[in-house]
């Protein structure tokens, strides 16, 4: 009787109730699976924050947040240690800024070229090659900076020390370039052809179309590309540890060497700071600082994207 009702009330191809039950079950299963995956990534992030905070809190209890943020010396391994994050922060910001000054203009221009000017055949060769660059281990970039770029720079700038932030920053810029190009090019190609046609029909040249129509149209994706580059630069360790030196020094002068936050973390984790000591805990305070810096840039990017988002 039941099956008769089913087929009569829902037409010739009415699904059986068993079929519908199976379908509902599958949907629920899928839903749970997706929820679990999502929760897992949130849990991992929470775990990382917890690890950082757990050891950073006793550190700040001893050193004091104000001292940490204002002291101009970072000498945790000295007999009379000082814990001012500013020198490390300056190193991180200076090297990252140099890297971005290389990667953002070069990356944007390259992306414009690939997306708006290059023949498809050329693009199909250049893009994978660029992405191959992203696969080079960072330690190789580090030695490239120290052994190739620094000597070259020393010829141009006499008296440049062997460890300097300029060389590290430049090479870091080259390192993040493929990411910026790849994402920026994707963002520009996602701009609908209808917009380009509108521009050309109005008499725009290729360059005018790229600069006045495609770039504003791709703004949100470009911001994401720059932010990823920024995040990579701020978190980069090997290049700066090898080429910029390991000496914490409060300076924004790219011609000097200085340690960054990441350099310090790697230096102390490899060294012999005893577990639970203040020096050991300082790693987590430094890590937390790095985390906050990245977070701030992400918030800025999020805000920019919302402010200038385009919907097609």
């Amino acid at each position: 009787m039941k099956s008769k009702q089913d087929s009569d009330s829902h037409g010739r191809f009415a699904p059986s109730s068993a079929f519908l039950r199976r379908r509902a079950l599958r949907a629920r299963l899928m839903h749970t699976l997706l929820l679990l995956t999502g929760t897992l990534s949130v849990l991992v992030t929470a775990g990382i924050v917890y690890t950082l905070v757990r050891d950073a809190v006793p550190f700040f209890a001893e050193v004091g947040l104000l001292t940490f943020l204002t002291d101009t010396q970072w000498t945790p391994l000295f007999a009379q240690p000082r814990y001012g994050i500013l020198p490390l922060l300056a190193g991180t910001l200076t090297t990252s800024l140099i890297a971005l000054l290389v990667a953002i203009p070069a990356g944007t221009v390259l992306a414009i070229y690939l997306s708006e000017f290059a023949q498809r055949r050329l693009r199909e060769v250049v893009k994978p090659v660029l992405e191959l660059l992203a696969g080079v281990p960072t330690v190789v970039y580090g030695y490239f900076a120290l052994l190739v770029v620094t000597p070259l720079l020393q010829r141009l700038i006499p008296g440049l020390p062997g460890f300097n932030m300029l060389s590290a920053g430049l090479v870091m810029g080259i390192m993040i370039l493929p990411y910026v190009v790849s994402l920026a090019e994707d963002a520009m190609r996602a701009v609908p052809d209808a917009l380009r046609e509108g521009a050309y029909a109005l008499g725009f040249s290729r360059l005018q179309t790229a600069v006045r129509v495609v770039i504003p149209g791709a703004f949100s994706g470009l911001t994401a590309a720059y932010l990823l580059g920024m995040a990579r630069a701020v978190g980069e360790t090997m290049v700066v540890a090898i080429a910029a030196g390991q000496n914490p020094r409060l300076t924004f002068n790219p011609l000097e060497g200085a340690a960054t936050i990441t350099t310090y973390i790697v230096q102390v984790s490899l060294g012999d700071a005893p577990y639970g000591s203040l020096a050991y805990r300082s790693i987590f305070a430094a890590g937390l600082t790095l985390f906050v810096v990245t977070l701030l840039f992400n918030i800025l990017g999020f805000w920019l994207r919302r402010r200038f988002r385009e919907v097609y």
Binding site: A194, L195, E197, G198, A201, L202, G203, S205, V213, V311
Partner: protein
């Protein structure tokens, strides 16, 4: 000063009043299409088309989907150049100078700076309403704020959009509704005062009210512009145009005065199409 020259190249002499319809033969010709063929790669899309585009008239292009009418329209401003492997043959002479628009020797910028286009789907730029309309003037080198303001207002008024947007000229163009966006695109095409306006099914995405707006507008615009309109809607062709070309499978089957095409078509295929027997 170059910009002023560009603005001044609108057709010079008004030879006829649009309301007193003269016979077709006496209409001056704005463009002459001569034995035009076109290929997408190896696939031929247009076959040996010859027809005039009369000055300050509306020429409607009708025909079933895939008949080549949009392809034909896009030859006038060399839109096909944007994609690889497209090929033209024949000529489109742009009068009075007799420039061959599709000759490889002609810089596509030349026709594009003189011929405006409105597309099937509204495609405003990711800019403000004002900057969308001003865009064509800016790339022609117009910097003078007063001229820009004046031309933006004039174009928006002509596109019947001014009253709806005058208080938010600097809001994003994407805040507008679909019909408003399409009128914005018309205003954008009008602002540099092109000699010819190409309309590619401009009302296919619009509701009847916005469509009526745009049809009225087309009727007004023919006083000063030469208009070529592609349309699926035969009533629209009959309402707004003075000349009609009927396309089928890439060929121009029949061309003539609109009234003649719709009352006494010479070709049986035209007859069948306009009476709804196929297409």
């Amino acid at each position: 000063m170059k910009a002023d020259a560009a603005l001044a190249t609108t057709p010079a002499v008004r030879r006829d009043s649009p309301h007193a319809e003269p016979a077709a033969a006496t209409r001056p010709v704005k463009a002459r299409v001569e034995r035009l063929s076109f290929w997408y790669g190896s696939k031929q899309a247009l076959f040996d088309i010859t027809m005039p585009i009369h000055e300050r008239c509306v020429t409607a292009l009708i025909g079933p989907s895939g008949c080549g009418k949009s392809t034909f329209l896009r030859c006038f401003n060399r839109m096909h150049d944007l994609y690889p492997n497209n090929r033209y043959a024949g000529h489109i002479w742009l009068e009075p100078e007799g420039i061959d628009i599709i000759s490889p020797k002609t810089d596509p910028m030349v026709p594009r700076l003189r011929i405006g286009m409105v597309f099937q789907k509204p495609n405003p730029f990711p800019k403000s309403i004002y900057e969308n309309v001003a865009a064509g003037l800016r790339i022609r080198g117009v910097r003078n704020r007063a001229i820009l303001d004046e031309q933006v207002e004039k174009s928006l008024r002509r596109a019947a959009l001014w009253d709806e947007v005058k208080d938010r000229l600097h809001a994003s163009a994407f805040d507008l509704s679909g019909g408003q966006q399409q009128r914005l695109c018309i205003a954008r095409a009008l602002a540099p005062e092109p000699e010819v306006l190409l309309l590619d099914e401009p009302t296919s995405a619009l509701d009847p009210i916005a469509t009526a707006h745009i049809e009225e507008l087309v009727d007004e615009l023919r006083e000063s512009y030469t208009i070529v309109i592609v349309t699926h809607n035969m009533q629209q062709a009959a309402r707004v145009s003075q000349f009609t070309g009927f396309f089928h499978l890439g060929k121009l089957i029949e061309f003539g005065e609109t009234e003649q095409i719709f009352t006494t078509p010479r070709e049986s295929m035209t007859q069948d199409y306009i009476t709804g027997r196929f297409g």
